[in-house]
Amino acid sequence: MTHITFKRLRTFFLGSLTASLLFACGGSGDDASQDQSSAPVDNTEEVQAYYAANPDFFSFKTPEDIPEGLVWEDGSELPEMGSAKAKKGGTEYRALQDFPRTLRTIGPDSNGGFRGMLLDDTTPTLGFRHREYFDYVPGLANAWARSEDGLTYYIKLDPRAAYSDGVPVTAEDYMFMFWLYRSSYVTAPWYNNYYSTMFTNITRYEDYTISISIAAAKPDGEARVLELQPRPRHFFKEVGEDFVDRYQWRFAPTTGPYVIKDGDLKKGRSITMTRNPDWWAKDKKHWRYRFNADKMRFTVIRDTEKIFEAFRRGDLDQSGLNLAEYWYEKLPNDAQEVAAGYIKKAAFYNQRPRPTFGLWMNTDRPLLDNLDVRLGINHASNWQLVIDKFFRGDYARMQTEHDGFGEFTHPTLSAREFDIEKAQDYFARAGFKQRGPDGILVDDSGQRLSFTLSSGYQSLKDILTILKEEAAKAGLEFRIEVLDGTASWKKVQEKQHDIHFSAFGVFLELYPRYWEHYHSDNAYDQAFLDDGSVNPDRKIKTQTNNLESFANLEMDRMIESYRASDDRQEMIELAHAMSELHYEHASFVPGYYQGFYRVGYWRWIQYPEEFNYKHTQGATEMFIHWIDEDIKKETLEARKTGNTFEPSIEVYDRWKEN
């Protein structure tokens, strides 16, 4: 059943001069090789041999070995998520900008936008973080207990749990998960490393009781363990050298509610996910009111504007309206569909760690290694104007590098304000006193105060042009470079940037991470000599997330204590001290954060009364909405006859900050 499709991409035509440019792309390799690959292997013996070869990691014990006196928790007293009024049924229509390149959730190309639908957003983990109370509620586990030293977690699995093909989930699948993630077949170095270093043991006591040990006790140690998911042993028993090709387009049995049936995957066009009517958790508390649509139909529409137009026509059910131009202009409150009540608009204020939008300065570059220059750049970046005029005052200024972590975020630090005078004073201290003929500052040797400001965000390039115009007032020149996402990521990973506008996505977790961005190990090879002085021959280290080339012995010490600490209060104090140190270093200009999300949705899509939960980052993240078929019929009828309803524009500001 192999068919090779050549997608012909006609770009543009250079008149009579050059031949027209036709080139073929994509589509040939992946599906062809699946059929050609050799007969399936059976890795059962290999896996067993691996367990036997690593007895410290994979242990087999009996229920009698479980220590006495454990305090079992189950989070079941937390309120349910979703609404008891939710109706099951209906089809939800959504758009995809890119067709997923694989149905695997591990290995090359698996980290695409559709992964959330396949795994992260739809599949239960052992425990699930309640998006309002931050604590865990039961998922695949019914109860868990922490050992006295805080290193081991004992877990009672829910015996009802089963994959979509009916096979029950047992302890074996969790052990197998470690084998799979540590195996070289999956070609996923991050997984290999994370699952080898963060965990030290998994023990099977009986089919439905296991324990998992982590490398270091942390205040949120349970997050490491409870967010694990089993992998179906029976499905992945063919994993071998050809894993990447063999599993490219096979839908793995899931513990989640949605499956992709045969024939529902139309490559390059659409995907339909169907709710499994026999889902094991369909009556389980905290899960029963979620995942309500019978089907979810994803259609590929590549152009953002076309997606929006499809939404306005009613072909898609919901659309994000985060950007001001969508909320105010493209779907204003007096738009016909909104005024007639067909489309509802909602803004929901949330609280969670904020993505780190800002300017990352590479302090290894000439001039940027000068603190005065960096301070000047901080004062010459007019983020307030961007927020007020580009985002129309809806967004807020980011104050530190780690906003939204509750107590762990520094309570009083605030980002430096745009101030031409201060900026010029700092630049003058660095030797830039004169303005050149174009108004840009020059020093005595005639060097211009000019830096490349790069970014991988095509859609946010307007922000860069605003910053450029404003910085010129302080005599600072930004040369703008807008790259495509991959190229820009490569550039900063090679540490080839001067100043980069970017953000790191932040997980919903208890405390921020510092080691990745601020430890000297990630800035230079051997940043300091043994006596603590700067190593004159140090070389910049590439492929790390220390984009500021931040190297400071004091910071290193604090990061190490922070990583080793299991005391919450100590960690909070260290986090604040590190933020202060980072602030003094002035190598990061905090940008903005969006303290809410906004959506437009057709009125047949229903949300619970409070709309959503405090820590959610999108309206559909929790799948607590549902489709009311009767209202859909009524609305479609009304569009024909011209009937109208009460318009609905709601702002849910219960969790609004400040």
């Binding site: 035509f13 001069l17 131009e325 493209k330 003929p437 042009t465 010129a472």
Partner: protein, 355 residues
């Protein structure tokens, strides 16, 4: 340079007789002249300022900080504010702003936010503003200038390389010809767009914007000269076997002399006929590249970027796309008219079915 022969002069006379093409040519020449002196027409800097008895002509000079004119800031003075201030005080100070008092880069933000505003004569945005409140007329004006200069430079280079290689292939023939044909076949099969993307991703951004535009030009020329060679090669082959070439060779003329002084003037018709279409394709290419986001580095004003913005805001700001679209159609139509007229006037058969 070579002298035009009477035949060519006759062709030029005939070109003048084809009115549509001739007037298009005059219009385009006028437009080019206008664009050359664009800073006097579309600019945020004043043309003349008389302040405290002193005269300033800031258009082409170094910037004047606000302090030069009694403001308290050290960055470039905002001449529109200055105009308003002069209008309010009665000090005999005055200034003359260009007809469009905005440059292509500033975010004006009338009404407090950066958003597209409709064309309005009142705030002198005659074609409205784009999504970050920059004046569309200014961006269009300078975008057109860059596109035209780019296209002309592109044409010149493509011709230079195409003619040299093509003539050499036709003139020398034999193994040289065979070898170059293969090279060109291989070369012209390299996907152009990928090359532009790859080359652009490795250009250090520390280069100035003109340098980066220059590199873009070089890359485009590098992958576009091949088409020209085939025409030149066949024409040269044809001319080479004529008696006058043999005669020139007998007197001892060098190869270069024969190619450039004897053969080239005789194949002028081919060259000239293609020229407008090369210009059209260059404008099309640079606009398409900009539209795709691989062209001129931001914030350089460009037609492609305006088109992209315009299509994204079709419903809310139709003036963006219409301005860019009309300009592009106007420009390309003019050049095509010229091209048609040139082709016709260089056609040896006066009465053809193509008329």
């Amino acid at each position: 340079m070579f002298k035009f022969n009477p035949q060519t002069l006759k062709k030029l006379r005939r070109f003048r007789e084809i009115k549509r093409g001739y007037y298009s040519f005059l219009l385009l020449a006028g437009l080019l002249l206008l664009l050359v002196f664009g800073e006097l027409l579309v600019n945020s800097r004043a043309i003349v300022v008389k302040y405290e008895g002193e005269w300033f002509f800031p258009t082409y000079t170094a910037f004047h900080p606000g302090t030069d004119f009694g403001f308290d800031y050290s960055y470039e003075v905002n001449y529109r504010d200055l105009r308003d201030r002069f209008a309010n005080e009665s000090g005999g100070n005055w200034l003359l702003l260009p007809a469009v008092p905005y440059n292509a880069f500033e975010n004006n933000g009338h009404g407090g936010v950066f958003r597209p505003t409709a064309p309005s004569a009142e705030n002198q945005h005659y074609l409205g503003t784009d999504t970050t409140s920059r004046d569309i007329l200014a961006r269009l004006f300078y975008g057109t200038r860059i596109a035209l200069v780019f296209a002309l430079a592109f044409t010149a280079w493509v011709y230079l390389i195409g003619i040299s290689v093509g003539c050499a292939m036709g003139y020398f023939g034999g193994i040289f010809d065979l070898f170059f044909q293969r090279i060109i076949e291989i070369w012209s099969n390299i996907p152009f767009l990928y090359m532009v993307i790859i080359v652009f991703s490795v250009i250090p951004s520390s280069l100035s914007i003109p340098a980066r535009i220059g590199i873009l030009l070089a890359v485009m020329v590098l992958f576009s000269w091949t088409g020209m060679t085939y025409n030149m090669r066949t024409e040269t082959y044809k001319e080479k076997s004529r008696d006058y070439v043999a005669a020139a060779r007998i007197i001892g003329a060098s190869d270069t002399r024969i190619v450039f002084r004897h053969i080239l003037p005789n194949v002028l018709a081919t060259l000239v006929t293609f020229m407008p279409f090369v210009v059209v394709s260059a404008i099309g290419a640079i606009t398409a590249l900009d539209y795709l986001g691989f062209g001129l580095p931001p914030p350089t004003p460009s037609l492609g970027e305006l088109l992209k913005q315009g299509t994204a805001n079709l419903r809310t700001a139709p003036w963006i796309v219409s301005a860019a679209f009309v300009t592009l159609v106007f420009l390309l139509t003019l050049i095509t008219f010229i091209g048609e007229a040139v082709r016709e006037s260089f056609d040896p058969k006066k009465f053809t079915v193509y008329r």
